[in-house]
Amino acid sequence: MAATRRSRRMAADILTYFVLVSMSLFCIGPIAWMFLTSLKLEADIVTQTMQYIPNRITFQNYVAIWTQSSFPVLIGNSFIVTLITVIVCLATGTLAAYAFSRYTFKGRNTLMLGYLVVRMFPAVMMIIPLYVVLRSVGLIDSRIGLALAYTSFLLPLFVWMLKGFFDAAPKELESAARIDGSTRFGAMLWIVIPLARNGLVASSIFVAIAAWNEFLFALMLTTGQGSRTWPVGLQLMVGEFQLPWGVLAAGGILSILPVMLMFALVQRVMVQGLTAGAIKG
């Protein structure tokens, strides 16, 4: 009896590893292939027989995308748009998340639901009027305009995610500070926010990754070098110049580096926050 149970457990473990390993390969394999491609000479990519391990390794694709295209400008624009988006979310969303987490007031649930329903609006439905509005106030093709457009769908997400982290922060210290004579604002600023700083970092990074990766709004709302972000730039380069595969792969790898870095930095906290926010939503 014990023996069969142990062997059954063993079989289950083997099956588990089999599933985990094959799924990881399925997830990482394509990215690894893109990385290998970025290290190949174009002649070795366009060959009769597939080279699984590159015969020659070159970094010229990376040099090419960085020096012979507007890629650095695109990356710079993306960086600024992302930064503005995160700052706006942090400044306004933190307050709202705190209010939702700590106070009960009339219309609270409706309002929170409203923040969520907002995400159901089709992007296209938002993009057209945003285009018209931003154009009329001179914010089309501007980094601020694009960042504002991003807050339209990222701010609600930020609020929901951060509320989960505030909910998890113990209320006792806050009450103690209040009894101690602190104002509500003081208690929030000096007690609750420091307690939830992991959540603030995780929610900000989540918003940052989404803004960094965003493609559709950027395609419609940017028209020139002044504000064009890297996803749009890369896409247009493919269309206009018949970008060689190696260079395209190098661009892809370069542009996901910041994402992977941020993800690696906070993956544990973020995974918790993501699940907490999404489940409650």
Partner: protein, 305 residues
């Protein structure tokens, strides 16, 4: 007010926070932004759908009532796109849910090394659409695609296949790419759901002599119901709304084989600058989505808790 506190003084804002307006002050900044960049554009967007608005022909302007909606009824592309949207969303969600469930179950067994596997499995979800799209275009390329090469080598295919150019395989190929990109989302949510099931339930079931299949059917599925329902609805919304991947992989082609509503609406706005018709298309899309969401929430009873 600050007299007894050891914390730094907070000045006027501190004073304000003691009044009954405090909650509204906290909510105001985000509300202003949301009203400005969401509510106003949304209402405006709905209004545009009843107007003529083409940036290429500024002379055309003014209210046209339901004209765009009537045109839509006779627009064959609209119906093809509607059909493709249903196919694309249904198959993508089913695939992602299946893969996500397998991944979550495996991760939930907590064998040594689970942490690393969890991170690896999550990576596709954070990959930008633009990169994911071009990466898969390379992997499935009719001349250089490594997947074609592997399939030929192991004897499944006779020759390289142009997955995205063949109307018979284009939609399936894009669904496959989407599943790769989106299944980690389900894995993540379902894993959280699985962790929330009390272990006692399984112990009690084991005492009663329930096998793994009975445990799965009688405990796991019912306990995960609300998580699955929430994950499905969130995913359906984002799948219906975002044409990014299709825009990059196929642009709706070949012909209209991969044309979906969101992409059709976007191209009508981006290529033709026909804002009126594009708005009407997205309003219809939104209404369909709302009706679906309402019916789905009612049927799955997640609204009840």
């Amino acid at each position: 007010m600050d007299t007894g506190s050891h914390l730094p003084k907070t000045g006027m804002i501190g004073e304000l926070s003691e009044t009954r307006y405090w909650i509204y002050l906290l909510l105001l900044p985000s509300l202003v932004i949301i009203l400005l960049v969401i509510a106003y554009p949304t209402i405006y967007g709905m209004a545009i759908s009843f107007r003529e608005m083409r940036l290429t022909r500024p002379g055309l302007n003014g209210w046209v009532g339901f004209k765009h909606y009537l045109v839509m009824i006779d627009d064959p592309v609209f119906w093809v796109a509607l059909k493709n949207t249903v196919l694309w969303v249904t198959f993508a969600v089913v695939l992602e849910l299946g893969l996500g469930f397998i991944a979550a179950t495996a991760l939930n067994r907590n064998v040594p090394g689970t942490g690393i596997f969890a991170v690896l499995i999550l990576v596709p979800y954070f990959l930008p659409n633009v990169v994911a799209g071009h990466m898969w275009a390379l992997l499935l390329d009719p001349r250089l695609g490594v997947i074609n090469d592997i399939l030929v080598r192991i004897g499944i295919l006779n020759s390289y296949k142009a997955w995205f150019a063949d109307p018979n395989t284009a939609l399936a190929a894009t669904i496959f790419v989407e599943a790769w990109h989106g299944f980690p989302f389900f894995a993540l949510l379902l894993l959280a759901g699985l962790k929330g099931i009390p272990q006692d339930l399984y112990k009690a079931a084991a005492v009663d002599g329930a096998g793994p299949i009975a445990e799965f059917r009688l405990i796991t599925v019912p306990m995960l119901k609300s998580v699955i329902a929430a994950a499905v609805i969130l995913r359906v919304i984002s799948l219906v709304n975002s044409p990014d991947l299709l825009l990059i992989l196929t642009g709706g082609g070949p012909g209209d084989a991969t044309q979906v509503l969101s992409l059709y609406a976007f191209q009508t706005a981006y290529k033709d600058f026909n804002f009126g018709y594009a708005s009407a298309l997205s309003v219809v899309m939104f209404v369909i989505l709302m009706v679906f969401a309402y019916a789905y929430i009612r049927l799955s009873k997640i609204g009840r808790e």
